[in-house]
């Protein structure tokens, strides 16, 4: 029997550390070779860490949310034969405590850690090997077992307890009482509130809900939060909303889909819009750019790498279709759909999440009338599309039913003037309203 240590592998170029977002195993589990043991989050992508051996998990190197340096011990297994390590993880970790402080919970953090485990509803096995964490449980005061109460009887409680329950919007009939005859004291009420009991009471009634649920912002959600804050705080946004008559384009799209039904990828609006962006930035290359504001340089790219904001279970992802200018409608359509699938099932590669030069965001049917899209930093423009619907439009003689759609485009006002922004939006409008122009070489 020996100890086999798996270290956090190199999860991407230039990445020094990754955030531990999920343990797939716990101490004592048997793991086969190639079984996934953990998932870590890098700048954008979630990476799964497989086991290279078969064995039994003996030590876990961190808790969910910890940042683990690349090359640091991630997990240890007890294996047949010699293994690759002689140091048991706990010892190793304590020896390395100076350099890896974030991977091990400090006693002061232990309580927070235990709360975290209750929120995620997933065991955080590291606590089982952490004496500090188990101590924090023993601090909880012993609580007398609550007595069941016969149905239809009024709960026993002093007037002050009843008044407080009323104030908190709690039906005392649901509160377990620890006193004789199930009498409810102030502590019982406090416990009930603390344990979120208040929330379970008559959710339909309009009583005060004093419950606070703490959700740790970790992994992808943290990345999104950082990115959004960076973008919105750094970039002075200017947003222009314009309406576009999509009638003709919709006719064309329907016709194309009908013609190639079953053979080719079904065309959504996105490939047309990508095409329009490619055409529009040909005239305004300053909008297909990445602005390195610290260096004071706007990199205008030849490649039109279009980011597509994609909703996944874990939150917003921006998949990037590289070189949209070099692909036809169907190729772009295929790529968009493939990338979206990959993003949703978590298999997307880092390169397909980076390198965008301009982004499209769409809420589909939820698209509302207008949105104020946030630019995907360090890009300088984003095109948001809103819900399409038939609206009456005056053609000079009468109202015509037209398939209208609003587009909401935001620009980095530091490097894009309002005038240029307006020109871009008008160009998009023109192209989308007369789709033939999309395919005429400019």
């Amino acid at each position: 029997m020996g100890i086999y240590t798996i270290r956090l592998p190199d999860v991407g170029e230039g990445i020094a550390e990754a955030e531990l977002v999920e343990w797939h195993v716990s101490v004592g589990d048997t793991v086969n070779e190639d079984d996934v043991v953990a998932a870590v989050m890098t700048d954008k992508a979630a990476v799964e860490v497989p086991s290279s051996v078969t064995g039994t998990v003996s030590w876990l190197g961190g808790a969910i949310g910890d940042l683990i340096p690349v090359g640091e011990k991630l997990i240890q297994l007890t294996v047949e034969g010699e293994g690759n390590d002689t140091e048991v993880g706990i010892k190793a970790a304590s020896q390395n405590a100076g350099s890896v402080t974030e991977t091990k919970p400090k006693p002061a953090e232990a309580k927070e850690q235990s709360q975290r485990s209750t929120i995620s509803d997933k065991p955080v096995p590291v606590e089982q090997t952490n004496p500090a964490a188990s101590e924090s449980f023993s601090h909880k005061p012993e609580r007398a077992a609550a007595q069941p109460r016969a149905k239809g009887t009024k709960p026993l409680a002093a007037p002050s307890v009843r008044a407080r329950a009323k104030e908190e919007g709690i039906d005392l009939r649901n509160v377990p009482g620890s006193g004789p005859a199930g009498r409810i004291n102030h502590q019982d009420l406090s416990n009930f509130i603390e344990e979120g009991g208040a929330n379970s009471v008559q959710p339909s009634s309009s009583k005060k809900n004093t419950k606070v649920k703490d959700v740790k912002v970790i992994g992808m959600r943290r990345k999104i939060a950082e990115k959004m804050a960076l973008s919105k705080s750094r970039i002075p946004h200017i947003t222009i909303v314009e309406e576009v008559d999509m009638t003709e384009l919709e006719e064309l799209r329907t016709a194309l889909n009908k013609k190639h039904a079953g053979e080719r990828t079904k065309l959504t609006l996105l490939p047309f819009l990508m095409r329009a962006i490619v055409e529009a930035v040909r005239e305004q290359p300053e909008l297909n750019a990445r602005y390195d504001d610290e260096a004071g340089v706007v990199h205008q790219h030849g490649a039109v790498n279009i980011g597509i904001a994609t909703q996944t279970e874990n939150g917003l992802n921006v998949t990037v279709v590289h070189h949209a200018e070099a692909e036809n409608l169907w190729d772009n359509a295929t790529k968009v759909s493939q990338l979206a699938d990959a993003a949703r099932d978590g298999t997307i590669k880092l390169e397909n999440l980076t390198g965008g030069t301009i982004t499209i965001t769409s809420l589909g049917k939820l698209g509302a009338i207008a949105t104020t899209p946030i630019i995907n930093h360090p890009e300088v423009a984003i095109v948001g599309i809103n819900k399409m619907q038939i609206r009456p439009m005056w053609d000079g003689q009468q109202f015509q039913p037209c398939k209208m759609m609003n587009i909401s485009c935001s620009f980095d006002h530091r490097v894009v003037d309002g005038w240029d922004a307006a020109v871009f939006v008008q160009k998009l409008k023109t192209l989308l309203e007369s789709p033939a122009m999309l395919f005429v070489e400019g």
């Binding site: 026993l156 009323k166 009498r183």
Partner: protein, 452 residues
């Protein structure tokens, strides 16, 4: 005609109304209270307080009159009483309390208007004052008009046919008095006049006096009535009064005065409440747990909302409504309303009676085994606890005995606090007091009685 506006208008300055007004005033709610009587309502003017004064005077007189025949070795001559002086003394107490209530309301910045109120609509009331008609518009109205003695058509009040109000202001003790109605009001006043020397007969239509209580509780009272020479005629229906004789289906009973005490009815008609078309429970105004009536902004408290017609219930309701009007979220969640019957001996009830709780654990401790009771020459009565069988939670407490009215506080507190038999049994009760019987009753229910 001027119009006044306020946030809260209270019609009726009885215990419910004036408490509501004081608390509302304290909470900064602009409040007007209207009543044609001096503040204090039935309770203070013609009910609780005057009757207790009369009962006290009668007790004193009776003690002295019977002292010579007692075991204490006291000899006195035959006493006499000038009832007019007694009544004047009683009126002085009432006046003091009227002034006290007025002062408290004034301190709370409540405007008191004297006169008869009448609803014009749900928000507007006119008051006939001595200076003319006063119109008042209010955001919230509290109906606290109380109740009045029920009149029997064949025994209309007037001359020798008295309601409790007149009985409490008699200037001399009648030679004979027939009390129609064996409820607590009739028995309290009837007993007092018997002690003062009147020949008292109680006529009760049903087969039991104090019909709201079980026979164990009323039995010591029946026995005492007999000792005092009060003739109780059960299953007897009065039918009229003619030439100094009360006519009943069991024959005529001579009577200088007839006290009709057959209950009280809510006072809704004279105020125009009937025209508001509020939802009613029989003759009473229907209210919810926050004392709101079926009309928004109109509350009702006290006797006008039904049984039990008790001043302290009205006070608690009044206080609650004031808080609600001031914006606090409250509702009625009292576990018990103690009730005291100032008969001889007194009866206290609090919470459920034995027959009202299935499988109840019932335990009694008789005052015959209580040292303090023996030293006051009165060993009649007992304290009784009704507990939930499964967990010994105390659901009801009753007592009958001299002076037990003061025990009502500890009984109510035990129930409101959710006490169990063990709690009461483990609390030290001072010796020698009647209250020891409370602890003993609890211990007895637990099979651990010490003194019985």
């Amino acid at each position: 005609m001027s119009e006044l506006k306020c946030k809260l208008l209270i019609i009726g300055a009885g215990p419910g109304g004036y408490v509501c007004a004081i608390r509302a005033g304290q909470l900064g709610v602009e409040t007007i209270i209207v009543d044609s009587q001096a503040p204090g309502g039935t309770c203070l003017n013609v009910g609780c307080i005057p009757s207790k004064a009369l009962i006290h005077a009668a007790d004193q007189f009776h003690e002295i009159a019977s002292a010579a025949s007692g075991p204490l070795g006291i000899s006195v001559g035959a006493p006499s009483i000038d009832l007019a002086t007694t009544i004047a003394w009683k009126d002085g107490i009432v006046k003091r309390l009227n002034d006290g209530v007025s002062g408290l309301m004034k301190k709370a910045k409540v405007k008191h208007i004297s006169g008869d109120a009448r609803f014009l609509d749900g928000k507007t009331v006119t008051v006939q004052t001595s200076d003319g008609e006063q119109r008042i518009r209010a955001e919230n109205v509290v109906i606290a008009t109380g109740s009045s003695p029920t009149e029997l058509p064949f025994l209309p009040f007037g001359d020798d046919i008295l309601s409790s109000t007149e009985a409490l202001s008699l200037q001399e003790v009648p030679k004979s008095m027939v009390v129609v109605g064996g409820g607590y009001i009739g028995l309290e006043i009837g007993t007092a006049f018997a002690k003062l020397g009147a020949k008292v007969t109680v006529v009760e239509a049903t087969g039991q006096i104090l019909p709201q209580y079980d026979s164990a509780l009323s039995k010591p009272v029946s026995k005492r009535l007999q000792q005092l020479g009060i003739d109780v005629q059960l299953n007897t229906k009065a039918s009229g009064f003619h030439k100094g004789k009360l006519q009943t289906d069991q024959g005529d009973i001579p009577a200088d005065k007839v006290l009709v005490a057959v209950g009280r009815r809510p006072r809704t008609d004279s105020v125009g409440i009937d025209e508001l078309m509020l939802s009613m429970d029989d003759a009473f105004i229907q209210i919810n747990k926050s004392c709101q009536t079926s009309m928004r902004g109109i509350y009702a408290i006290g006797d006008v909302t039904g049984e039990p017609m008790l001043a302290h219930r009205a006070m608690a309701q009044g206080e609650m409504v004031a808080e609600i009007v001031a914006g606090h979220d409250l509702s009625w969640d009292k576990r018990c309303i103690p009730a005291v019957c100032f008969t001889d001996p007194e009866i206290v009830t609090c919470g459920v009676l034995p027959h009202e709780l299935k499988g109840a654990k019932v335990s009694e401790f008789p005052f015959a085994a209580n040292g303090r009771a023996m030293t006051t020459e009165r060993e009649d009565g007992f304290i009784r606890i009704v507990a939930r069988p499964e967990d010994d939670a105390v659901m009801g407490i009753q007592a009958v005995g001299v002076g037990v009215s003061e025990l009502s506080a500890t009984f109510a507190l035990a129930i409101e606090m959710g006490a169990t038999l063990q709690d009461i049994g483990a609390t030290i009760h001072a010796h020698p007091t009647q209250s020891e019987g409370f602890q003993e009753a609890a211990l007895r229910a637990l099979g651990k009685a010490l003194h019985i």
